[in-house]
């Protein structure tokens, strides 16, 4: 089981801040493919990966990153701090 978190407009499009997902996905990209297959709102949220960033266990990474051992994956748009 992995916690999947969504922030900003990703959260709004999916309509929830978090899912708990049972998955055998090997990489972030595999997890994204599983999520997109779920429902229209996931398909919409993940339609343009270039507009998204991902963190695995609270570390920024990319969509090729392996998920072995991961507890938490988060998807969000480019950050706008400061």
């Amino acid at each position: 089981m992995i916690d999947v978190l969504y922030f900003a407009w990703v959260r709004e499009r999916i309509g929830a801040p978090k899912d708990r997902v049972e998955t055998q996905a090997a990489t972030v990209a595999d997890l994204v493919a599983e999520l997109r297959a779920r429902e229209e709102r996931y398909e919409v949220a993940f339609s343009d990966l270039s507009a998204l960033r991902v963190a695995v266990d609270q570390e920024l990474t990319d969509f090729d990153a392996p998920l072995a051992g991961a507890r938490e994956v988060a998807f969000f748009p480019p950050m706008t701090g400061g």
Binding site: A8, F76, T80, G81
Partner: protein, 145 residues
């Protein structure tokens, strides 16, 4: 506490005074403060963040700045939640022997906070809400470090 992520407002003067006081090792102290601008009829800004990752990401950025410029100290305060035009969003402070290091480290911290700390700004205006888009030039600014 050298990194603070909080919903509450903070007092720039009090923070700057505390940061600067009693230093005899660092001749140069730089602060940067970000203020909510009243551009284009902005009513309110709301900042979302990623609890847990926010603190660790800022902590790592701060450590890198301290190591890279041999800083005597560095402080980062960043708010989340709602704030109105004129309110302070965040501040950084750096202390170094010489001004070049204090300025460079403060600019480095700002460039990284802009694009690498998990905050997202939403603007509330008379004609609706909207997420602030990341700026190409903010991402580009990271290349200089």
């Amino acid at each position: 506490m050298s990194v603070r992520v909080q919903a509450e407002s903070f007092d720039l003067g009090a923070e700057a005074s505390r940061f600067a006081s009693g230093r005899t090792d660092a001749g140069a102290i730089v602060t940067f403060s970000g203020v909510v601008r009243a551009d284009g009829g902005l009513i309110e800004m709301e900042i979302e963040h990623y609890p847990g990752m926010t603190e660790s990401a800022i902590g790592a950025i701060r450590e890198e700045a301290v190591a890279r410029w041999s800083l005597a100290d560095a402080l980062v305060i960043h708010r989340h939640g709602r704030m109105e035009p004129g309110e302070l969003i965040m501040m950084v402070a750096t202390a170094a022997r010489h001004r070049g290091d204090a300025f460079a480290a403060a600019e480095f911290l700002m460039d990284y906070l802009k694009s690498r700390a998990p905050f997202w700004k939403k603007e509330r205006r008379g004609d609706g809400d909207g997420w602030v888009a990341a700026k190409v030039e903010d991402e580009a600014a990271l290349q200089r470090w």
